[in-house]
Subunit: 246 residues, 2 copies
């Protein structure tokens, strides 16, 4: 059982090389409107997108993201921000004393951005474009925030490059269904075995894609990453923006 | 400029009333596989879905979500969990000392769930099904967590009801594009005016939908909500699960 939308979803792979073909502003608007159509928690509509066209800013953002050159050169670069400044504005309109800083609000605003952005990604892909999410902007999140003039109660969750693909990578194999879909209760008793089997597939994927120069299983990749600190500046930065205070 | 996928995305509205028609397990698998195909931060694949079919659990989850009856009665109910327990498992496989509790990790795992779930929502809608996200399970997140046997480093982000629609609500008007899409810098100088205009449209939407019994603008709704505490138990609960510790 399948249909064109399911096919589209299953064909996703990140695109990191784009042709120079430009994209019309109408298309950007259609992509953002598709993002807005996603569900939004209690109608908060907490996602704000900053489209960055200024070349100098794009270069600095590429640097912030760990020198990912396509952040500077992709036809379109968007930054998805979790935004509760907008809510502060409407509370002020009504002389309402907004209670902010709750972890729950951080979750809803962040999830809102995720749903919004994923709709944008699918919209773009449905138009024949390719996309890649750029979590790397959180490497230097304070600098990104300053570059974009983000006020209190706004934080940049991730970026996204969009353009016509100039590469055609394979889709990356995902975890076995039994690992990610469970019935009634969290039972991971067979996960280790399933992951060992999956590891072989991931290793083969990298081997065939790199002509043998990279061979790495999923569990090796993940465990190698998780022995390091993960952007330890994040909590202080978010506190400074008024998030996660209680 | 449009296409069937863009049309599908723009037609989204939450469905809270379903026919009794059952949905084949093949469809559920296809929906979850579509979810897995979404981008995942550094390949972490941090989303685990618990499908709840046990009637007694469904009733309790409905209660947790503030007595949303469709949580008990919808043909399908899924709980999307941000899961780093799986990463602990693979770190243990490799005798790697996992560093957990970083706020950054909380963001990536939560965003992973958002992208995954939104793909599921679109997949379901492409099959003619309707969906509604259930953030309400976070009302009693500790109880939900216990009901589903969630271990440390796993938290339930939201639920989702899926089924054949037995209602046909209108789509809800979204904020003007100028409010959510900005160029190069966060500039909200015209937002208040745009929101006032938008408020009229939202008021009209509620009026026509409720036959005049509810008339509420967006800014009234949001400001009314934000003077209250937002699930103040959340940070303690997440700490207890090993999240947001640093």
């Amino acid at each position: 059982m399948t249909n064109p939308t399911l096919e589209l979803l299953k064909q996703h792979r990140s695109i990191r090389k784009f042709t120079q073909q430009t994209i019309s502003p109408d298309w950007i608007n259609a992509i953002i409107e598709a993002g807005q159509a996603a569900a939004t928690s209690s109608f908060i509509q907490a996602c704000t997108v900053i489209q960055v066209t200024d070349e100098h800013k794009r270069e600095q953002l590429a640097e912030c993201a760990g020198n990912q050159a396509y952040v500077a050169t992709a036809p379109i670069f968007l930054v998805f921000c979790a935004d509760m400044q907008r809510h502060k504005l409407v509370c002020d309109m009504h002389q309402a004393d907004m209670l902010s800083g709750f972890t729950e609000q951080f979750i809803t605003a962040t999830v809102d951005c995720g749903l919004f952005a994923q709709n944008c990604a699918i919209a773009a892909e449905s138009l024949g474009l390719g996309v890649v999410y750029i979590g790397g902007i959180r490497n230097q999140i304070a600098r990104v925030s300053e570059l974009l003039g983000l006020p209190e109660l706004v934080y940049p969750v991730f970026g996204m490059c969009i353009g016509y693909p100039d590469q055609d990578p394979e889709t990356k194999p995902r975890l076995p269904l039994s690992v990610v879909l469970k019935q009634d209760v969290y039972d991971d008793s067979t996960d280790a075995d399933s992951i060992r089997e999956y590891d072989l597939r991931v290793r083969e994927y990298y081997r065939s894609r790199t002509g043998g120069t990279k061979e790495m299983s999923w569990s090796e990749q993940i465990s190698g990453m998780l022995v390091k600190e993960a952007r330890p500046h994040m909590l202080d930065f978010l506190h400074s923006k008024g998030f996660l205070k209680r």
